[in-house]
């Protein structure tokens, strides 16, 4: 009951509101949970941390869950994480079992969400207890490890690495802060922008530009295709019964665990979680040949994995200050607004906020289930919301969000615009937003930890010899890089084989 002490009715209302808005964003193809959180950030400017978190967690859970609706009904994943839901969900819909497929997905999503919340509750404090013992050396190595993972699991190793390092470089623009032991001098800034960039680019406008404007520009470049004409029928076919989950507890648990684990790894999107869980399901299924033809177990694996991601991605965020995915990277913006530092000390020093996170995460999952399960007939209409009404609202919210991020600075609006364009053209040349933003968020900390370690010990050897934890981290870094090179090598081999085949 201690957990519920700090919960207020307003929080519960905001969670529910967040879930509903999140479902709308998730259910519209092209819009994501990350975009939902980025666009709605300005709503939190006037709220305190606890109520802000309630809204943002609702958006996160709703945004991840809403993706299953178009995946099943029109074979287009609403969010990248529901890509594998199309494999079996849409064939089920074609057989006239759309409502059954949706409800299976919703229940699996609830299981995945609650499973990952449970893991978060027990694992985050334990990880924070270990991390509290870290010196600057280990903290730098953790960030280095996070960046190698981001690069190694990117679509292309080299593109992910360039994006991450570019994010770090951009984060260093501005003053080397005296508060962090710096010398207070400005760097990487052209003379005429020194006044505006004295503190570098502000995080929130960068986030809103990259995850809000970029998406709209990509849609605009395609001429803002009209919303899909619905050709689906909900009812009919085999009705949904909970007995469909009989014998699938293993599937639910395994896929949720995979989702939670992938969430733990920094910068990895939900698509990796659901693809891994789906492939694993295919390997272990009694009828692997049936997967892809409209089997409920395919929907169960995919949906429990992508909701498992939510709690998993919050673990490194809360205990290390490292976001697990792009949505939690945006959430860092909300903490920054409140002047709070995430990291090993967070849970101990802000127990109330930690309890709020837990209660609201569980509540968000329950609300998501209630809204989607019982009002599915209305939720499906969301995919037909006209884009000509929605996109202008989103752009207006983005502009006001960027402007208000630092209490009214027009340069922040230009930052939003600049990074929106950067995201659009960056994607064209293969840069990736998630590694970039995580590099941007962690860059300044990486600098402080790296420089202070060298200033204290006077040698680079300290990074290898400081402690057994440092050695352990190097092993993890080596494994992550080894995996990355192995994957890159396999891709080259595959490419060569395909060319040979032609």
């Amino acid at each position: 009951m201690e957990l519920l002490v700090d919960v207020t009715p307003l929080m519960l209302v905001l969670v529910a509101f967040g879930v509903i808005i999140g479902i709308v964003f998730g259910a519209i193809p092209g819009m994501t949970a990350t975009m939902a959180v980025a666009v709605c950030l300005p709503m939190t400017y006037g709220l305190d941390l606890d109520t802000s978190l309630a809204l943002l967690l609702g958006l996160y859970v709703g945004g991840i869950s809403g993706g299953l609706v178009p995946a099943i009904l029109i074979n287009i994943p609403g969010t990248p994480s529901s890509i594998t839901t199309t494999f079996d969900g849409h064939p089920m819909a074609q057989k006239g079992e759309a409502e059954r497929a949706l409800k299976i997905g919703i229940v699996a999503s609830l299981f995945g969400g609650l499973f990952s919340a449970l893991v978060l509750f027990f694992f985050a404090p334990a990880l924070a207890d270990v991390a509290i013992k870290f010196s600057y050396v280990e903290k730098f190595l953790i960030i280095f490890f996070a960046l190698t993972i981001i690069a190694s699991l990117s679509k292309r190793l080299i593109n992910g690495a360039v994006s991450g390092v570019l994010g770090i470089w951009v984060s260093l623009i501005g003053t080397y802060d005296i508060n962090n032991g710096g010398n207070g001098d400005i760097r990487l800034v052209p003379g005429f922008l020194e006044d505006q960039l004295i503190n570098g680019f502000s995080l929130l406008p960068v986030l809103i530009g990259l995850f809000g404007l970029t998406v709209i520009l990509e849609e605009a470049a395609k001429g803002v295709p009209p919303e899909p004409i619905a050709r689906f029928k909900l009812g009919g076919g085999t009705p949904f019964r909970f007995s469909v989950f009989k014998g699938h507890l293993g599937t639910l648990t395994r896929a949720s665990a995979i989702g939670t684990f992938v969430g733990l790894l920094p910068g990895i999107g939900g698509s990796a979680a659901s693809v891994l869980a789906y492939v694993q399901q295919k390997n272990l299924s009694k009828h692997p040949e049936r997967l892809g033809t409209g089997e409920p177990e395919g929907v169960i694996a995919s949906e429990s994995a992508n909701n498992g991601l939510t709690g998993g991605a919050l673990i490194p965020l809360v205990s290390l200050g490292i976001p697990g995915d792009s949505t939690t990277a945006v959430m860092i913006g909300a903490f920054t607004l409140q002047g709070l530092q995430l990291g090993p000390l967070f849970i101990g020093e802000h127990l109330e906020a930690w309890h709020t996170i837990m209660v609201n995460l569980v509540f968000a999952n329950i609300v998501m289930f209630a809204v989607m399960f019982f009002a599915i007939r209305y939720v499906v209409k969301v995919i037909q919301v006209p884009k000509y009404l929605l996109y202008p609202i989103i752009l207006m919210m983005c502009v006001v969000g960027a402007f208000s991020a630092n209490s009214g600075i027009m340069f922040d609006v230009w930052t939003f615009f600049l990074f929106g364009l950067f995201g659009y053209y960056g994607h064209k040349i293969g840069l990736e937003s998630a590694p970039f933003i995580i590099g941007f968020i962690l860059g300044k900390d990486a600098e402080v930890y790296f420089v202070k370690s060298i200033e204290s010990y006077g040698s680079l050897s300290i990074f290898f010899t400081k402690s057994p934890i440092a050695v352990g981290l190097w092993v993890l870094i080596a494994l992550s890089l080894g995996y990355a090179f192995y994957q890159a090598w396999r891709n080259v081999q595959r490419g060569a084989a395909e060319e040979g085949g032609k």
């Binding site: 390092v165 010398n183 502009v399 600098e447």
Partner: protein, 142 residues
């Protein structure tokens, strides 16, 4: 381990890490160019074709219109905020015009009903946001 010794001059410490990151970035960019050399050669050979295809697939009117309207929105809102300082009225008025224009740009078949809906939305949405942020949360708006 003498070769691993490093001394950082405090006066120049603000450039120490950015220089390392800058060099890592240059090396990675070179590696990216080498790794993708085949694609680049192919792209260069078919530059005219691929460029033409890219431009053809780009909806210039909608894309350019979005960017143009957004720039105009930001610039005009900034100017008008000097005329009506600290009221948020510049935001309110400019957002209504911006949203209506953008909706009309994105509308494929401009039936009377859809245009009316777009205009109602363009009036209502900025008003709700303006009221919530400026009047309830007391946030500064342009």
């Amino acid at each position: 381990m003498e070769f691993l010794r490093v001394t950082i001059d405090f006066d120049q410490s603000h450039l120490f890490f950015p220089r390392i990151v800058g060099w890592v970035l240059v090396v990675l960019l070179c590696l990216a160019l080498v790794a993708r050399r085949r694609e680049l050669v192919r792209a260069a050979a078919g530059l005219r074709g691929s460029l033409g295809a890219a431009i053809e697939s780009l909806d210039l009117k909608t894309f350019g219109g979005t960017i143009g309207l957004l720039i105009a929105y930001i610039v005009v809102m900034d100017r008008l905020s000097d005329v009506w300082p600290n009221t948020g009225l510049s935001f309110l008025v400019c957002s209504m015009v911006f949203m209506a224009s953008l909706s009309l740009l994105y509308l494929h078949d401009r039936t009377r009903r859809k245009v009316a809906l777009a205009i109602v939305c363009a009036v209502l949405a900025p008003f709700v946001v303006w009221y919530a942020l400026a009047k309830l949360f007391f946030l500064t708006l342009p």
